[in-house]
C-alpha cells in the first residue's frame, strides 16, 4: 500500500506548485519590492527609491479621487445591494402564512433576478453604456415617453451623476445573487420559529427584525465582504463604460484604473506597484475587520 506513495504525491503536487509559484506567488512577492523602485520596464534599471512612490501617491490628485470613489462605493454598493436583496428575499417568504416559503412564482423571480450575475462585467458595462446614452439610450427614452423630459440627463458625462450611474450598475448586476443567497438562508431557518412568532402575534416587520434577520447574519456578513471586495475593484465597468475612461474630472476614477493606466500606458511600473500595495492593504483591512466582527457575532448567537 505504501508502494508509489511519494511518486503519486509528487506527481499530484509538483505541477500545480510550479504553476502557483511562477504565476501567483512570485508576482505577488515582486510587487512589494517593485513598489520601492522607480522601474520603468527596462531590465536592470530599477533604482531603489524607498517610500518615494508612496509619498507621491499622497500628492496625486487623480489617485486621491480614485481612493475617494472606491471608499464611497465601498459604503454605498454593499448597503444598497444588501438592502434590496434582503427586502426581496424576505418578501418572497412573506406571502405564505408563517413567514416562510411564500408566494407563488418566487422560483421564477429568482431565475430572472439571478441572470445578470452570470454576465461578464464587460457585457454589463457595454449594455449600460447604451442604457445611459443621452440621445438614444433606454433611460432617457423611458423618461421622455412618460413625459419626464425634464429629468433626462447625460448620465455619464456629468461629474455629479457619473459615480452614481456606475454604482447603480454594480447594484443592478449583483442584487439577484444575494436574493438567492438570502433566500436559501431563510429557507434553512426552522419553521417552528416563524410559527412561534406568528402565535405571539408578530407582524411581518417584527418577524423579520427579531427572527429572520438575526438568524441570517452570517449570510449578510458574507455579502458585505464580497460586495466590499467588488467595490474596491469596479475596474471593468469604469474602464469600459465611463467617458475618459475615469469619468469627467476623474469622477469615476478607481484605484485599479489608475494602476492600469500608470503601468501599461505610462510605463511607471514602480509607481503602479505602489498603488497595488495600497489596494492590497485596503483589502486586507477590510478582511480583518470583517473577520473580527464576524467572530463577535457568532459569540452573540451562541
Amino acid at each position: 500500500m505504501r508502494h508509489g506513495r511519494w511518486r503519486f504525491l509528487a506527481g499530484a503536487l509538483v505541477p500545480a506548485l510550479v504553476l502557483h509559484a511562477v504565476f501567483v506567488l512570485s508576482p505577488y512577492a515582486q510587487a512589494f519590492y517593485l513598489s520601492l523602485t522607480d522601474w520603468t520596464g527596462v531590465a536592470g534599471e530599477a533604482r531603489f527609491v524607498g517610500a518615494g512612490n508612496y509619498a507621491r501617491l499622497g500628492g496625486d490628485s487623480l489617485f486621491l479621487h480614485a481612493v475617494r470613489n472606491n471608499a464611497v462605493m465601498l459604503v454605498v454598493v454593499p448597503l444598497v445591494t444588501i438592502g434590496i436583496g434582503l427586502f426581496l428575499a424576505s418578501m418572497m417568504h412573506l406571502g405564505g402564512r408563517g413567514g416562510r416559503r411564500g408566494i407563488a412564482g418566487s422560483g421564477a423571480y429568482q431565475i430572472v433576478y439571478f441572470f445578470p450575475q452570470l454576465l461578464s462585467l464587460v457585457v454589463i458595462a457595454v449594455l449600460w453604456g447604451f442604457v445611459y446614452n443621452p440621445n438614444n439610450g433606454l433611460l432617457n427614452g423611458a423618461l421622455r415617453s412618460v413625459g419626464l423630459e425634464g429629468l433626462t440627463r447625460s448620465w455619464l458625462a456629468s461629474p455629479s451623476l457619473a459615480l452614481i450611474a456606475v454604482m447603480a450598475v454594480l447594484v443592478w448586476s449583483s442584487v439577484g445573487f444575494y436574493v438567492v443567497l438570502f433566500s436559501a438562508a431563510i429557507d434553512s431557518i426552522p419553521r417552528e420559529l416563524f410559527e412561534a412568532a406568528l402565535l405571539d402575534g408578530a407582524g411581518g416587520w417584527a418577524t423579520f427584525r427579531t427572527v429572520t434577520f438575526p438568524l441570517m447574519r452570517e449570510s449578510v456578513h458574507v455579502a458585505f465582504v464580497y460586495l466590499g471586495i467588488a467595490a474596491l475593484d469596479a475596474f471593468a465597468v469604469v474602464q469600459v463604460m465611463t467617458v475618459g475612461p475615469g469619468g469627467p474630472d476623474g469622477a469615476t476614477e478607481v484605484i485599479g484604473l489608475s494602476l492600469y493606466r500608470n503601468a501599461f500606458q505610462y510605463g511607471k511600473f514602480g509607481y503602479a506597484s505602489a498603488m497595488g500595495v495600497a489596494l492590497f492593504f485596503a483589502t486586507l483591512t477590510l478582511a480583518v475587520l470583517a473577520l473580527r466582527s464576524g467572530r463577535k457575532e457568532r459569540l452573540e448567537l451562541a
Binding site: 508509489g4 506513495r5 511518486r7 503519486f8 504525491l9 499530484a12 500545480a16 504553476l19 502557483h20 511562477v22 504565476f23 501567483v24 506567488l25 508576482p27 505577488y28 520596464g41 426581496l88 418572497m92 406571502g95 402564512r97 411564500g102 408566494i103 407563488a104 418566487s106 422560483g107 431565475i111 430572472v112 433576478y113 445578470p116 452570470l118 454576465l119 461578464s120 462585467l121 464587460v122 457585457v123 457595454v126 449594455l127 440621445n135 438614444n136 427614452g141 415617453s145 443592478w172 442584487v175 445573487f177 438567492v180 443567497l181 438562508a185 411581518g204 449570510s219 458574507v222 474596491l232 475596474f235 471593468a236 494602476l259 492600469y260 501599461f264 503602479a272 506597484s273 497595488g276 483589502t283
Partner: protein, 295 residues
C-alpha cells in the same frame, strides 16, 4: 466549509414550494415589488436583444419601438466583420483549456492534501488559500513581465496557464473539504485489490467527488469565461482577443463608426451562450455559485 456544502445541498435539494393560505392584503404589494425588480432586471437585456434586430436609424430615432423588419444582417455582420465569431472561438479555446487544467490540478492537489499525511501538508495548503485573499491588481505588473520573459505574451497556452494558476487556489480550497468527508473504506478496499495511488484517485475518489466537481466546475467556467483584466494585460494581439476583451475594444471603436446595430448584435451574441447554459442548468448554477460564496 461544512456549512458551504450543507447549504449547497440545501439549495439543490430544496423541495418545491408548499402553497399555503395567503393573506390577500399582503400578496398584491409583494407581487408588485417583486415584479418591479424583475422588470428592472430584464428590461435592459430584452431591449438589447430587440435592438440587435433594428436598423441604425430605428435605434437612433425610436429607442422604444420594435423593428419594422428584423435585421438578421446585424448578427452576421457582428459575427464576421466585427470578428465576434473569432473572439468567441478564442474564448472557447482558452477557457476550455484552462478549465480542464484547473480541474485536473486543483482536484489532484486537494486530494493529496486532504487524504495524505506528510510534512509540509498544512504549509502547502495555506500557500494556496492565502492567494485567494490577494487582489489580482497587486500581481498585475510583475505578472506581465513574468509572462513576457517566458515568451508567453499573447499566446493561447500562456493565457491558459495563467488562468489556471489563478483558478486553482479556490478549486483546492473548495475540493479539499469535499475529499476530507468522503469515506476512506472504499479507497482502502481498492488498495487491497491492488489499485495504485493514481488508480484510486482517478477511478474511485474522483467519481465519488462528482457533486463537488460539478459545483466548482460551473463556478470556474463562469469566472474564466468572464475574465477581463488578465487578457487585457497579457493578450495584446487583436487576433487572439477573448470575447469580453473583443467586445470592450469594439464598443470603443464602433462608437466612432456608430455601427450601433452591429454592436447590439455583438452584445447579444456574447450574452447568448451564458443564457443557454443558464436555462439548461439554472438550479445547478445557482446552487453552485451561492455555495462558492459561503466559504
Amino acid at each position: 466549509m461544512t456549512v458551504t456544502r450543507e447549504r449547497a445541498a440545501a439549495v439543490a435539494a430544496r423541495p418545491a414550494p408548499v402553497r399555503r393560505g395567503r393573506r390577500p392584503g399582503t400578496a398584491f404589494p409583494v407581487h408588485l415589488a417583486m415584479l418591479a425588480w424583475a422588470v428592472v432586471t430584464a428590461l435592459p437585456l430584452l431591449w438589447a436583444v430587440v435592438s440587435s434586430f433594428k436598423t441604425d436609424d430605428e435605434i437612433l430615432n425610436e429607442p422604444w419601438s420594435l423593428p419594422a423588419t428584423p435585421q438578421f444582417d446585424n448578427w452576421s455582420r457582428a459575427w464576421t466583420q466585427a470578428s465576434i465569431g473569432r473572439y468567441f472561438l478564442n474564448s472557447v479555446v482558452v477557457v476550455g483549456g484552462a478549465l480542464v487544467l484547473t480541474m485536473l490540478l486543483g482536484s489532484l492537489v486537494a486530494y493529496a492534501l486532504a487524504r495524505y499525511e506528510f510534512r509540509g501538508n498544512r504549509f502547502i495548503y495555506y500557500t494556496f488559500v492565502a492567494a485567494m485573499f490577494f487582489p489580482v491588481f497587486l500581481a498585475l505588473v510583475p505578472l506581465f513581465f513574468v509572462v513576457q520573459q517566458l515568451g508567453l505574451l499573447g499566446t493561447y497556452h500562456g493565457l491558459i496557464l495563467v488562468y489556471a494558476a489563478y483558478a486553482v487556489p479556490f478549486t483546492v480550497f473548495f475540493l479539499h473539504a469535499f475529499f476530507r468527508t468522503l469515506p476512506g473504506e472504499v479507497a482502502e478496499a481498492a488498495f487491497i485489490d491492488g489499485c495504485s495511488h493514481g488508480g484510486v484517485f482517478f477511478r474511485v475518489m474522483l467519481p465519488m467527488a462528482r457533486p463537488g466537481l460539478v459545483a466548482v466546475g460551473i463556478f470556474n467556467f463562469l469566472g474564466l469565461w468572464n475574465q477581463y483584466l488578465l487578457p487585457l494585460v497579457l493578450n495584446p494581439d487583436p487576433d487572439r482577443y477573448v470575447l469580453a476583451q473583443g467586445l470592450a475594444a469594439l464598443s470603443v471603436s464602433q462608437g466612432y463608426r456608430s455601427d450601433w446595430s452591429g454592436l447590439f448584435a455583438g452584445l447579444t451574441i456574447a450574452m447568448l451562450p451564458v443564457l443557454v447554459a443558464y436555462v439548461a442548468f439554472q438550479r445547478h448554477i445557482r446552487a453552485g455559485m451561492t455555495a462558492g460564496a459561503v466559504k
